[in-house]
Subunit: 155 residues, 2 copies
């Protein structure tokens, strides 16, 4: 478990090898986005700048599917980290969470060509079920928020 306030190892890099091929965040997916999420105190943090090709329906805005995708990977990583933090799980690899439900609210357009910041906080833990609340910011303003129910795979 990460002992310092800021974990230097991305959460996704601790996934077991079998679960490391996710297009959004798997270290072993050669073509993927390789989203990296960090646990910082009681919050999780990812930063990502989508490629120019990820334009949305309105010129200059980021593709909504990209925003949902970032929340999806950030949320399952956050759930794994919060779960371990809560349970003092001493297993050598993190529990791997999958998404049961994802609610995304698009609050304001997300401009392209900017670094996006995704943050997550724990809402609740009940056994293998973890709820995570998230925001996505560009240029210091929240552009979208999300809530995920994530469930740990049995191991």
């Amino acid at each position: 478990m990460c002992a310092s306030r800021i974990c230097e190892t991305p959460i996704q890099d601790e996934y077991a090898a079998d679960y490391s091929h996710c297009y959004g965040c798997g270290r072993d997916n050669a073509d993927g986005h390789h989203l990296k999420t960090y646990l910082i105190g009681a919050e999780t943090l990812s930063r990502f700048t989508p490629d120019a090709k990820y334009s949305g329906g309105v010129p200059g805005n980021v593709y909504g599917g990209m925003i949902a995708s970032l929340f999806d990977c950030h949320g399952t990583a956050s759930a794994a980290a919060f779960h371990r933090q809560d349970s003092s799980d001493e297993q050598p690899t993190l529990a791997r969470f999958v998404t049961a439900s994802l609610v995304v609210n698009f609050i304001a357009p997300t401009p392209q060509f900017q670094e996006l910041t995704i943050r997550g906080v724990l809402k609740s833990i009940e056994g293998r079920k973890v709820r995570v609340e998230m925001t996505l910011e560009a240029e210091g303003l929240v552009r979208a928020n999300a809530e995920m129910l994530a469930i740990a795979l049995r191991r």
Copy 2:
């Protein structure tokens, strides 16, 4: 407006040129998925087979972000088609809808290397606000469902 029961023109191909660069479904995005959605009676239909690289957290399953992305583009296209069907909109181009909120429920794993079928039905229309309910099937079984609130851009 499409007069026959099955519209042969994809909804996305009727978007105004300014709104045709979406990564998920824009005809003018050279790198995108080019999702095509059809209005068939009171239902919308898209079919899409994700590339092998779009693996999810569990081997052999489709990336959750891809599933959310397909719902995002299918939903806004459906909203545009249902809105025109409801309002007998005679404008030369479809109203362009953007996503206000998207709820995705992942019901069962979605296997890779299969054609996915996305269906949409109208839930409600209130002015520029259209709610669409959707399902995503693989091998004849519903793997995920979704609900979108889409809002038409002013024109």
